[in-house]
Every structure is written in C-alpha cells, then in structure tokens.
Symmetry: D2
C-alpha cells in the first residue's frame, strides 16, 4: 500500500527482489522533453550490484526499458513505464529464511503485518526496489535539465563507520574516482582498507550519505505539510536501511546558539547571499537559492556471517547466518538512490510551485 | 498549499500568528469516540506560551472550541473543526521586520516564493501554527485510547545545547516535574542555570526531543512510500525549526557494525522480544511491537538580541535585532508538538492498516 | 471522511446544519489576488434560504468571515479559512426524526454507516453544507478573474419537473430576473404557477441545472483519471440530491450516430471553431476552448407533507411527515452551488495544467 | 498526469494504443487472496476486440501477466503489476491523422494541451487503455469475493441508439447469450439487424450501459467528497466516450415529485427493505444495502466512413475519413469496463469504510 510518492511528478514503484521484473510508473512528466533509455541507464549503472568488490556480487544487468509515455524520443505528458527485468534470481540461496526471521531485516514485520511474505531476497522489502527509484530519478534529471539549466545534484559518502571525511578536503571531482563516491581522496584510501577487512570477516558497517542540490531556484517548498525539507526527509527515510535524516546543520543544530546558527544575509550581484549555510538552503520549508543540503544515515547491512539469535514462525528459538551475496557497506549503493530521490523531490516542487505561483515573477529583492 | 497531513486520519491546519484565529479540521475520525474540549485543552496547556520563565511571555489562552463533528459528546465520523482564537496580537512589536528579513527566519523564503508576506509574527510560518497540531493530536489520543488500550506516547527533551541527558537516569515520572520535560532530574538542574544565562543575554539554544510510543501494535506502516518511519520523519521535519530526525539509533547507526546494530529476537510470553532496540521499533518501515522511538533536533530560535546583518526588500544592507517576546529554547515547547504528531501518525497508520488488512488476524508467531 | 476536493486548489469543508458554524478551508490559492468577504457574500446571498417564497423559510444571514490567508486585502498563498455561523438552529422542529428514518433522506444510511447520527436538520448530510462550497467558489472566481480575464461561469435551471425550457428562448440576461435562475422568461412564468401549487400542497419536485463555462482555455484536464469531465461529474454528483450528470449532449448522446454527434472543426480568426458542441467543450477529458457545458439532475426534496411509511431504529413500522421549513424545489438553490463547483474545478485544472505544462506555449494550430 | 484512481485500492494505468505494452499497478490489495492470471483473463476476454462482427477487427490476444505482488498464488499486500503486451500494432493504418485532427476524437485537445501527441491509434487517449482497467477490475472482483461472499456485479446494455430495452423483459441469464450483453432477448434481435446496417454503411451509434451491484453491504461511501455515487460517477465518466452518468432514477429524477421519488422503508427479515429503488441504492452518498444502480451513456464512435470537415495542424481546412478497424457501437465493449470500474469503486469503499469504522458493528436496526 502507498507505493507512490510525489505530488505532481508522481512515481509509483512495483516489483520484488526475485520476481520476473520491477519498475516504476512516472506520472506528471512535462511534455516535450527528450528521453531515451540510455539516459536512465547511466544512473542505473551506478547503483548496479557487482561494480566493485565492495558491493554484492549478485549479477544484474539492470537494463531499463521505456514501455510508454515517450514518442519519437520525446515525453508526451502521459505516464512513463520503466521496466527492469530481474535476471539473477538464485532463490535457492534464501532457503533458510523461509521459516526464520533474520534479525534487522523486515522479515518479521512483514510477516506480522501481512501474514504472508515473499522470502526470496526479502521480496518487496529488498533494496532491489531502489533500482526503480534510480530510473525514475533519471527521468527527473532530464526534466530538470530542461527546466533549470545548470542545476546539479551530487551525492557522496561522508562517513563509513567510524571514519568521517575531512570537509576541508571535499573535491567533487574525486567522487567519480573511487568506489565509495566520496569527495575526500584520502578518506577513500582509509575506507578501502577498512571495508576490505570487514568484508573478509563477513561483517558490515553503516554510512552517511550527503546529497547537495546546487542551483535549485528559491521558492521551492509547500508549507506547512509539504515543506521542501519535509518531503526530502520522507524521501530519504523511505530508502531501505536509513535511520536518520538531516537538513543543513542537522542534529548538530541542537548544540548551537542562535548567534552561530542563523545565516546572515548580504546582497550579492545576483541576489541575496548568505554568510554560511547552517540552514541547508531551506528556511520555513522553502528553498532560499543556496545549496540544498540533505544527509542521511544508512545502517549496516543486517546480513552478516556471524550467527545471530532469532526465532522461527513457530516461535522456536533458532540461530541464523545470512549467507548469500551481500553488501558490506550498503551505504555505497545508497548514494545514487539518494541523488535520485533528491532529483524527484526537487522537480516535484518545481512543478508544484508553478501550479500555485506560475512561471511568472514572485518576490523580488532589490 | 499542502496544509494537510495524514492518509485516513487527515488533519488540515489554517491560520496565522496574528490573524483572528487558527485551527485544524480533523477528518477521518472514527465515530462513537467520547470527545470534549477539555480533553484537548489538557495538551494545549502544555504547549501554551508563558508557562515558565523559559518560554515566550506572549499571553495566549489557547482555548480550543469544537465547532463540528461531535454530537452529544461523541464523534460522529464527520470532520471536527478545532478553533483557537488569537487574543494577544501585539503586532506593533513586529514593525521593524516589514522591510528587513530576519536571518534564520522564513521571512526571505516566503517573500521569494509568494511575493507577499504577512510579517506579523511570521504569519503562517510562525510556530503558533503548532497549537493546531497539538489540538489535533489530542483528538488522535482519544481515538487511540479507545482503539489501543494502554498505548502511551511520551515526549521529552534529551539535549539542550551542549548538555545531554544521562540515559541511565531516565525516569518518565520526572518529565512532569521540570519545565523542560526532561526525564533526567539532574539534567533539569543543569539546564535551568544554563538557560537562565542564555535568556538573560538574549541568546538562544537548540535542543533534541525524543518521542516514544509504547504499546503500539506490530504491523503499522505502509511500505514503500508511507512507511511508519517515513511518515514520522515527515511529521517531525514539518515542525518549525526542526533540522534532523532520527529513528532508533538514528545518525549513530552509521557508526555501527551489523553485529551490534541488528536486534536479536527471542520468544517471550506475549510474543517476540528483542534483545535491544537499535531499530527504534521499526523494521522495513513497519512496527514490530517494540517501543517506537523517534528523535528530532530543534535549532536555536533565530530571534536574539544580538544585532545581525541582513538586507531589506530593496536589497540594501541592514542590521536587525529581533525584540519581542521569544523562547530562548524553542525545543521545550516542541515536546508536546512532537507527541501530537506521533499520535496523529500512529493513529493514521492504525486506520490505514485496518483498511488493507482488517481488524482480523494477520501474521501469528508460535 | 474525505471532506476535501480538488488537486491543487483544494477545498475542505466542515460543519453541520445545526452546529455553531460551518466553513471551508481553501488551500492552494495563488498569492497576490485581491479578496474581501463582500466578494464572497455576493454569491452566498444567491444561495441563502428565504430569498423568495419558493425556498425554505429558514432564516440564515449566511455571513462569511475570512479568518486566515488574506493580508491587507490580498491572498498570501496560505490557507484561507471561511467561516459561516449558523444563527437559526430551531432544532425542536426535528424532534420526530430522532427515532424514525425519513424516506429519501440520508438518515438511515448515516445510521448504518456510523452507528451514530446528528439528527438536527440532517447534521452533516444537510444541504446547508453547500454554503461552504459557494463561499469557496467565490474565492475560485476571484482567482479565475485574475488569471483568465473574461471567463464567465453561468448556471441556470433548464427543467422543473415535467416542464423544460425552450432552448430557442435562452437569454442569459433573463437569469437574474426570475426566482428560478432560468434563462427562459416564459418558462419562469409557467414554473411560478406550477411550483406555487406544489408548495401549497406540501409536495416537491425535481429539476435540471445547467452550468456553462465560457472562455475557459483549451488544454484543461488531466487524463486519464482526472479528466475535466470526470472531475466535473464528481463535483456535481457530490452535491446533495443530485442523481445524474451530463456533459454536452449527455445521456442523449446514446441516441445519436457518429455523423451527428462528432463536432466538425474549422479554422476561425482566433483558432479552431466547431460546427456544434455535442461534446460540451471536452474531448478526451481535455477542454477544447469551446463552452464547457455540464448539466445535473436534482431529485425532489424528500421532505413533504404527505405521510410516508418508514421504520424506527428499533425496526418498528412507522409513519412520518416531515414538517419544518423546506424547499419545494431544491434545484433552485442548487444553481449557485453548481456554479461554485464549476469555478473550483476549472481553477483547479488551470493550476494543474500549469504545473505540468507551465504558463508557456503548448500546442499551436496555424 | 493523474493516472491513478481509488483511495486505498489504488489503480495506476499506463500505456498507449500502439506502444509495446500497457498495464496497471494495483496497490492496496489485501494480503492472502488467491490470484492467478486466468482469473483476470476471463474478464479481459469479454472486452477483447474481434469477439463478434460487431466489434473492431483489430486482433489482440490481450493476455495479461502478473509481474509482482503475488507469491505462491496469493496476494502479498504489495503492488500487483498487470502487463498486457500489444501485439497488433498496424500503425500504418493511422497515417492520415498525423496532420489532421479527427472530429470527435481527442486529437485536437491532446495537441492543444501538450504540444505533442502520439497519433498511433490515439495514443494514450485510445480506449485500449480500458484493458488495464478490466484487468484491475478482475483483481477487485477476487478480493470482493473473499470479503463479501455472494456479491454480484453485472453490467449490460439497456439502449443502442434509438432502441431501448423493455425493463419488463430483463433476464440476467440472457446477458451472456447475445453479443450485446443485453438482458432483453428481444432487444438483442432488433439490435443485431440495426447494428448490422450501421456497420455496413460505416456509421456508428451510441449506447447506454447499466451496472448493478447486488449484495453490497450498507454503509459504503465517504461523504462529503468521496460519496459512493460521486466516486462511481467519476469512475464511469473517466471511461472513453462517456457523456452522462446516472444513479438510480438518474436524470429522470428531475421529473418526479417527492411522493413518487422517495423510497419508503419497511422492516424485512434481514433488515430494512425499500418499496422501490429510485435512489439506486445510495442515500446521502452512502449505500443502503439495496442494489447499487449506475448507468452511463457512451457516445457513438467518432471514427466513421463519411468524410468529415476538419483542419490540419497548420490550420488549413481538410476532410478526413477514419478508415481502420473500429467499433460501430463502442458501448458494447464498455460493458465489461463499467463492471470493472464498479468493482474497483465498491472494493475501495469497503476498505475505506473499515479504515474509519472497522470490521466491527456499526449502526444496527431492530
């Protein structure tokens, strides 16, 4: 239930980890935007498993097909169906979990809710669903490119377990150069060794992902209950394994005083400029024109090689070891997912804004 | 735009800080539940300004009237209108901010979005809107009481600025005994001195609020895009000044390994029991029956006595000092608001769950 | 439940026939539109009871207050609360119906659904709720006036019982000159005598109301499930006592051949012109620029002086005579309600259209 | 935009007439219901083209696949993806309409709205989209069967052009015995000759379809803006070519007096019984337990062999003859579509009702 998100740019995903296919219906797309599968494939390839030794070795082509909504290379304004077939469905790997609930996984909660569950790879609760999000995010990116030239949406890892990046070393060009999508080259080195150790011991670790939207227009957000930060928080929290979401200063804001936290304003050549960005580009739920900064914590994969205590459906005590092919740090593959969600939310709010306020002028300064 | 939240139990708020009144329309309320204004007043009084020297000295009776949806003391299933009249509207206090944008406030973003703004007390962006939420939350509590006997929803402060509580000292009985709604008596003492200093110097500080739902049934949450944690995150992030939201272990989950983070499961006399609660009572977006734990950071009030740099509508540089009556730690009054939001979300998901799965049996263990 | 309508321009109504007040929250209103209570009052006065001997003699001032969303005479883009206090609540008139279900009324269905009902004047099921719609429609009209200069929304009666108007005699100037809002002066005369007879005998009769939107831009409508005709049909069917809705040729379209029904197209000086308007200005759920024509049938008031067979809550057979003050032809007062609903739907779709397609150019011909 | 309908049982359709496939995502399905493709195929086969000489000769297998949401033959509560591949996409038939707008079709309105359109078979505006609705309706039927044993949903034609059925001859067993799904055997004979003539001359004619839901529980409907009749009206009006919708007495109610129209109530062995059903089983937007009766008019296909005047995209006058394979009375194939929409709406309201009121007792009589 409730497998859709977005107000105008509305994405509905479907499909299970080991079903024949999964996908997304993308509705509310403006007409006349150039769109082809390869534009989406680019983003899907970043999320695709098996890209490095640090991600699951499940083999999926993750090839996306556009089944509707595009005519002669352009969007028509009708719903776009994106379908990705599942090719590697080795469901025999998952035999043990039919009767036992894996700690930290959604096995027990799906069972308690529905009284039935698809145990193959976690069924609908699998992070495989995020492939559909990344495809939909690709559509959002193409529309944004047409409507807001120069907008950039960048995601990257800022923490892996106990190791955080040094913000002084942030360099966006580094992001593409390491398997962790981190902008700190030195952190990438440390993390490589760290994660290798964890991977070999069959352990896992959490991560923090940060997504920045540069060049988003001011005025996005629909207070009170669809504020831009509200919708970003929901978008990120809906990603598998996410346990915390921050805007700008985030949880740390609790430790600051008003003098430090409130960003002072000056007039720049192109409009207002701020002395700092504790707000993460959002005031009162509306974008200010600064970088929009959202951050989220991804918990460690619960699938580890250490035996864990659990129970069976019959209520009997049991032990479980989750074999199979898993990510030692699932946060890595959450980077393109976070970017995709941000792209969808920003576009959705752009459309929502022009519904109420139009393309024309709103508040001017100076 | 988008001044409603909830799927079935749907709350629409309206009203500005200095308009004649504000309120909430509460729709989707089950029929036959006893409801009277005094049941709601109890909660409103907790949020009411001027309750201690630590909150704004604006005087508001915050008296709620029920204008519809209740007949002979019982809900009828039709929309309940809750109205609170504004009595203390000293708008002269706010004269300076008509032309200048207050740093950290929504003045500039509302202006950029709408090209018009009600400067009196922040208009719609004022935290005064949360009175309507607390009233609606009171309705949710009464319905929950009828449907889930024994459910408890408790909010409390766990951090004020640099000072955090000691979790070993948590005692829910303490919460009502100090003006900070904190369960740590010793923290309350420290905070009193700390905040007094800040208040006198015209400064302000942030806070962390934690809300726990004890006794919520397992099975609540509607994956993928209305997961219980997703909706809680949205609900809390929509509160004024909130910059971060956490479920269970929250941002800290990024630092843990899978061995530590995943809560092991055992069979107890009344069903499954967990060895720990890093998950915050939610797996795969669905409640497990454990305590649901959500936490959020409230930034420091941006209204401080230190002059701050800003600009005018004309784009001229300016300084501003926000006089008036303000909260040195607005997190205090966010406690009853967070509780109210949690109550609304939990009830909404209870109704949503029975829409899809019914009152009857779902998954059983043992 | 579900007391809201509209996608962007979203109206939530609340209140019962004999409660202290009723109203509407109007959300999604564009900012910067001039709005004052007297602009709304104009439309409310047309729906107000007791305007002629042909409508109920209940006395209601139906005075509307704007409690939020307007600052210094202009909309701010935040929700507008419209409140109308009930002044004439002679609930003693309704004593008999506490135990008995009035045939043709919603007494029995509300009871079966909710197990509780407010019997005073029908509670929430009373047509009194439509006052809130008319007020909201007034807001929609002001916004439309600002966005689509020259747009006209006219409602009128085309049938009272067995008497239909002669379409050759339609003259919009006549509408304001008779108590039936009919554009056929001669029909007005016939109806006066006819309805007087019915009124004196305590009977009632049905009616057909037609609403025409002239000057609506082409392109409005959001296929497949929020087509313009779909939303108009829902809007009209939601009005009390409505049993049928037609677009253009309506039910009669079933009797035509393709040669007769499909409107031929020619090029006029300002764009496409159609040889006829069987389509009612809508093709494929999208407006064509022709007059949008919607029509609905209102059943006769079920409150009549003839005793009717019914049962009591206890299941005992009974007779009931609905005394009190009632409309012999409730279709008359449905005219301003139909207009209001049309205004809301057209505006909503205008906003929805610009969300997806923008203010800029869409398809051009020639 | 807005390609979804339903509140809890929510259907999102996608796909164009001549794209690779079309389908529906069905969300909010209760878990644990037996479901297999062949259960849906049964209903799709009724809508399938080419079943008799009276329907289009386009050849489509209309074979439905279930891509998600079902595990080991049972629904899991997660979204069900239904996909139907298009096999017969002879798009060369449609060459002429790339530049010219077909009168009565959505060509011109889609063009005006979007500035781009898929001309192949009408693209998204094609009635081919209704195959997805029929598949979704099949899912609704299986869930209804599980939740409301004995419920029956029957659609049939009551009018073809100038020929109406004789209600005295209605016999549901006849429906399956003639190609027009009419319950009047004698009408079927007349219609056969009539339609044969029209078909041979390349003409077309309209129809009226009636759908009856027998055995729907009392209490369904969510006033004020999701009344059962409101949602049925929207559902039917959203079907291609529908121009009017009626509940019970429908437009005819306008001609009746209160004495005739209001259905009297008596107590029967199993609850309330009504002396008649002018209300069509719905009072105040809520079902009463009587047969729910909805009726809609389908206009004649606009694709006919007579040349028609129109214009080109360039605004030049032109003539067009719509060759290709078309239905002389598209109302016939609208019968299974109307049934499917009714099934979806009834189930949706059943789920909505139990959200607010639960499975437990509501109002009792006697």
């Amino acid at each position: 239930m409730m497998n859709s998100f977005g107000h105008i740019f509305r994405v509905t995903t479907w499909g299970e980890s080991h079903g024949p296919a999964l996908g997304a219906t993308v509705d509310g797309v403006p007409p006349g935007v150039a769109l082809a599968p390869e534009m989406l494939q680019h983003w899907l390839d970043r999320r695709k498993p098996g890209q490095s030794k640090y991600t699951t070795q499940r083999r999926e082509a993750d090839e996306v097909r556009i089944l509707s909504g595009v005519y002669e290379g352009q969007t028509t304004g009708t719903p776009i169906q994106l379908m990705i077939e599942n090719t590697d469905q080795r469901s025999k790997d998952y035999g043990d979990i039919v009767e036992k609930f894996r700690p930290g996984h959604a096995d027990i909660s799906y069972w308690l809710k529905y009284g039935i569950r698809d145990p193959r790879g976690g069924g609908r609760s699998s992070a495989r669903e995020t492939a559909a999000r990344v495809a939909a995010g690709g559509v959002a990116r193409e529309v944004l490119k047409a409507l807001v030239p120069g907008i950039e949406i960048r995601g990257y890892m800022t923490r892996m377990g106990v190791h955080e990046i040094d913000r002084a070393r942030i360099d966006w060009d580094e992001i593409e150069r390491n398997p962790f999508w981190t902008p700190d080259a030195k952190a990438a080195e440390t993390w490589a060794t760290y994660l290798d150790g964890l991977r070999k011991s069959g352990s896992s670790v959490g991560a923090v992902v940060e997504v920045v939207v540069r060049g988003a227009p001011a005025g996005l957000g629909a207070p009170i209950y669809a504020k831009l930060d509200t919708d970003l928080a929901a978008a990120m929290m809906s990603i598998n394994a996410v346990k915390g979401v921050e805007i700008g200063e985030g949880m740390n804001a609790a430790m600051l005083t008003g003098e430090v936290n409130a960003d002072e304003i000056a007039m720049g050549p192109d409009g207002p400029e701020f002395s700092s960005n504790h707000a993460g580009g959002i005031l009162g739920g509306i974008s200010t024109g600064q970088d929009v900064v959202v951050r989220f914590a991804v918990k460690p994969t619960s699938s580890i090689l250490t035996p864990r205590k659990t129970i069976t459906k019959a209520g009997e005590p049991a032990e479980i070891v989750t074999k199979g092919r898993h990510d030692p740090c699932v946060g890595i593959r959450a980077v393109p997912v976070g970017e995709a969600m941000a792209a969808c939310v920003i576009l959705d709010h752009l459309l929502l804004h022009r519904a109420q306020v139009g393309d024309g002028p709103c508040g001017r300064i100076g």
